[in-house]
């Protein structure tokens, strides 16, 4: 499918407040099936919050989230999963005392997997977890736990996948490998949103990026253009100075 297909996700004017603080302040963007959209911005700009709202952890305080022509803002997460939205976590959140297999088993059973779903063994093999299939998730390295998060998400056969800093902490070979996996998923028709700090990685895999600052998008387009926009440069430099 081409990235020019009609959007599957449309976020418009979304506001999310924590107390008086606007973590999202009128965020709008869209993503289409087969497209890889990068979501970049300094720490605290609201990238994770955006993913949390889209995946149902928080209801938006204003604005709308529409997925496959359905209004989904504020819908319970498990229902969103059944509609086809899934995600990974910046800090991986597997079921620690359950084995890798059991982790995936839960998602396959409750996430609406069908006969067409990839078999568990293939998924574990593909994401390099076959050797640890019977170990508790707590035994895995951070990188393996991230892959387990991803496999758990894929086991529910999502149409939209939100990846929150999946590549952080991977070595260069692993980075190339996971970039290839993500691209292959998009080629299969999945819409993917990637939050990442590594600009090389973003450049390698995304079709388009949204640059966020203070809960709003300040740029939309290709990364090559983004890095020449003064406002974007300032946000990143300002962010680094502040950090």
């Amino acid at each position: 499918m081409s990235p020019d297909a009609a959007p599957i996700l449309e976020v418009s004017g979304v506001v999310k407040r924590f107390g008086g603080f606007h973590a999202l302040d009128g965020l709008s963007f869209h993503v289409s099936p087969g497209e890889i959209l990068g979501l970049v911005g300094p720490n605290g700009s609201g990238k994770t919050t955006a993913i949390n709202v889209i995946s149902g952890l928080y209801a938006p305080d204003a604005g709308s989230v529409s997925f496959a022509q359905t209004q989904v803002g504020g819908m319970a997460s498990h229902k969103l999963v059944h509609l086809g939205i899934n995600r990974t976590f910046q800090v991986p959140k597997p079921f620690m005392s359950l084995t890798v297999k059991q982790n995936v088993e839960v998602a396959r059973t409750y996430g609406g997997a069908t006969d067409k779903s990839p078999p568990m063994a293939d998924l574990l093999e593909e994401y390099r977890l076959a050797d640890v299939a019977n170990r508790p998730a707590s035994d895995l390295t951070n990188a393996q736990q991230k892959m387990l998060d991803l496999v758990r998400a894929l086991a529910t056969q999502p149409k939209l996948l939100l990846l929150d800093e999946l590549a952080a902490g991977l070595n260069p070979t692993e980075l190339d490998w996971i970039a290839g996996r993500i691209k292959a998923l998009a080629q299969g028709g999945l819409a993917i949103i990637v939050v990442e700090h590594l600009m090389g990685f973003i450049e390698q895999i995304t079709d388009r990026v949204i640059v966020m600052n203070a809960g709003k998008e300040i740029f939309e387009g290709t990364l090559a253009v983004a890095v020449k926009v003064p406002q974007v440069i300032e946000v990143f430099l300002g962010g680094e100075h502040a950090a």
Partner: protein, 306 residues
């Protein structure tokens, strides 16, 4: 052989058979009955705590509600005892329904609110203003249904049901999903699990078995006061036994009851001063060295404990 069948065959059935024949070879009938009650309650704690992570300090509330459900059916409606036991279970489930909002609390907040709820039920039932219905603080005497042999058999049936529930949880995708909710509720919902629904079902199942146990206890003892059937000892013992053996397993809570309630009865009555000491030390050692219970001695070595 599927695991479910093995668990029935090698854990549930032997225990039930031993308990069924025990009265014919051992004459302390009340003690055997108490074992049955604690097997049920420890497994009831296992259902809610082991599989969902909610520690019910007020678990006795369901037990007491079941006992009074039984008593009211017998006193006012002349109901046959087995029916009254079932009503006891139903009363506890209704109490569980009323207390469902507690599941929104987490950790110690849930435990304390649950404890408060059990006290509230106790004081409602023991209220002299309700003497016409509950006999208030003066207690009930149900001589008409007194039949320890039948009550004991009823207890074994309820234990069988309880073990059935735990074996199911241990082996089903439903039980696995419950454990997923316990480990990380948001990841569980991102696996498509309806977290609220899961917790509610487990909560009601554990209320049901405690209510049935309370009903059959009332049948067995036939004379009791509110303070007896709402005694915090029931909650504490059931929780300690379950944790000592190891929750989220079938055998852990059973082992906990056999060892700790066994010790309690061996030395508790003859030399209470030593009992308190040994019990206290055991529990401290457990919390310090074996927080996941006795079964973790085996699971740490990679053995799978049913």
């Amino acid at each position: 052989m599927p695991d479910t069948v093995r668990h029935y065959l090698f854990i549930a059935v032997p225990l039930l058979v031993v308990l069924a024949v025990a009265p014919s070879v051992y004459n302390n009938h009340l003690l055997l009955f108490n074992f049955v009650i604690f097997f049920i309650l420890a497994q009831g704690v296992n259902i809610i705590y082991g599989f969902t992570g909610y520690l019910p300090f007020g678990y006795v509330g369901f037990f007491g509600a079941g006992a009074y459900g039984f008593a009211i059916m017998v006193m006012h409606l002349n109901a046959p005892a087995p029916l009254a036991v079932l009503v006891g279970g139903a009363v506890a489930v209704v109490l569980g329904l009323i207390l469902t909002p507690l599941l929104r609390l987490s950790g110690a907040y849930f435990s304390i609110a649950n404890l408060a709820a059990a006290l509230a039920v106790l004081h409602l039932i023991a209220n002299p203003a309700l003497e016409q219905i509950t006999k208030g603080p003066y207690g009930v005497a149900l001589n008409g249904t007194f039949n320890p042999t039948m009550a004991y058999a009823g207890g074994i049936l309820i234990l069988a049901l309880t073990l059935g529930i735990v074996v199911y949880l241990k082996n089903s995708s439903f039980g696995l999903a419950l454990q997923a909710v316990r480990e990380d509720s948001f990841s569980a919902s991102m696996s498509g699990v309806s977290v609220v629904r899961m917790r509610t079902i487990a909560w009601r199942a554990s209320a049901l078995v405690a209510g049935l146990a309370g009903g059959v206890f009332a049948w067995y003892v036939s004379v009791f006061y509110p303070d007896n059937v709402f005694s915090a000892d029931f909650s504490i013992f059931a929780i300690v036994f379950a944790l000592f053996g190891g929750v989220a397993t079938i055998s852990g809570p059973l082992i906990g009851v056999i060892i700790l309630y066994g010790i309690y009865n061996l030395i508790g009555f003859t030399t209470p001063q030593y009992f308190q000491l040994i019990y206290g030390l055991l529990i401290m050692a457990l919390v310090l060295f074996l927080p996941a219970g006795l079964v973790s001695l085996a699971t740490r070595r990679g053995w799978n404990v049913p």
